[in-house]
Symmetry: C2
């Protein structure tokens, strides 16, 4: 195993999650290049020679959406020697969380299409991107239970029902309303805005996160 | 950014943890090659063209210790463009947990020395290995609270005091004996052997893990 002999490329791929139409969705791009023409995949690409992995992930993200200040985390590095039939590429996968009200999808001429897909109803994916999707969903669910990062999927102010609904959509199960409210208020991550949301339902108090920075905390 | 233009090497580095002499220790190797001659680092190296990242980590592990069936987990991939002054190398860092009673350190002619170091008292490390050490310790502490992986640091059968002591050493703080016992027994990961350990102290019941496979569970 010498420096000279190694012939491996390095890429990043990024799973961009958001809540749209009451579903957990991810951005997929439709590929142009052979032999994957027409296939769907997570956005990504080779990193630059002087670009860090994080910077490469941020660049890919910026190419897909006109949003900054997004929650971004390195997920896992996929390195199976046969994952890309065009030659060996290892991929550092990232996941990002975006409040859908802040996003505008951008198309580039690199791909033939870019779209949101329900994570529960993905098309056949190129490479090992099905594994990346599974891993990302698992990590997201885990992180949701043990951190405050749900803030990045919610608007600035929101009701406790909205927050609980976000958890239910991602975890794929019902959550008891009273237990959730008691637990969430007890861990002291929210502050009341003293304003109420008026709508179809009974007026409900609007909350904000005390800080919109990642922190470890048991939410459920 | 074209396939042709990229000039980056891929390596793995591995943080091998064990409990020895009532301290949390890691294996470091002393480097031979310039410009790092004499410096200490985590064991690692470039991956083979047909070798997966996991296989490369297992190979490095096997070269350092005559032990199989070790807990091994990918930690994080470090990709700062300036982390290696010899040329660009990105490193997928792994961490491993080993019961020290099962390990024999092996030296190879690749390095001038290989030794255990207390994680609280590391020498100056080569590359960005100080960052890798910090990240590995953080992940280990987190995993210890939210999984059963402490099994890989304990002998087959052990007392609850031994188990608690392992937690105390790694977390670097005292843990209340009664709360710990109650919590650990309530989460149903252990089974009694119905044997007792006889020694300096009052005879204590010996326990085993029901399964020695990683599982998510709140221990503390």
């Amino acid at each position: 195993m010498t420096h000279q002999g190694q012939n491996i490329k390095v890429a990043v791929d990024i799973v961009i999650f958001s809540i749209l139409d009451n579903a957990l969705k991810v951005i997929l791009i439709q590929m142009k290049k052979k032999p994957f023409t027409g296939k769907w995949a997570f956005p990504g690409g080779l990193i630059g020679n002087k670009e860090s992995l994080d910077d490469a992930a941020r660049r890919e993200l910026a190419e897909k959406s006109a949003v900054t200040n997004i929650y971004l985390e390195q997920l896992y590095t996929f390195g199976n020697p046969k994952r890309d039939s065009n030659g060996r590429v290892i991929s550092a996968a990232y996941f990002a969380l975006i409040d859908s009200s802040r996003i505008r999808l951008k198309t580039t001429d690199k791909y033939s299409d870019v779209k949101w897909f329900d994570i529960k109803n993905l098309p056949r994916l190129a490479y090992d991107h099905r594994d990346i999707a599974n891993y990302a969903l698992q990590r997201l669910r885990w992180k949701l239970e043990y951190s405050n990062i749900v803030y990045s999927l919610l608007p600035k102010s929101f009701t406790l029902s909205q927050m609980r609904r976000t958890y239910e959509i991602i975890l794929g199960r019902k959550i008891d309303r009273r237990n959730f409210q008691r637990k969430v208020l007890s861990i002291d991550i929210l502050k009341s805005t003293h304003r109420k949301q008026i709508g179809k339902h009974r007026p409900a108090l609007l909350y904000e996160f005390k800080t919109r920075k990642p922190a470890i905390v048991e939410v459920l």
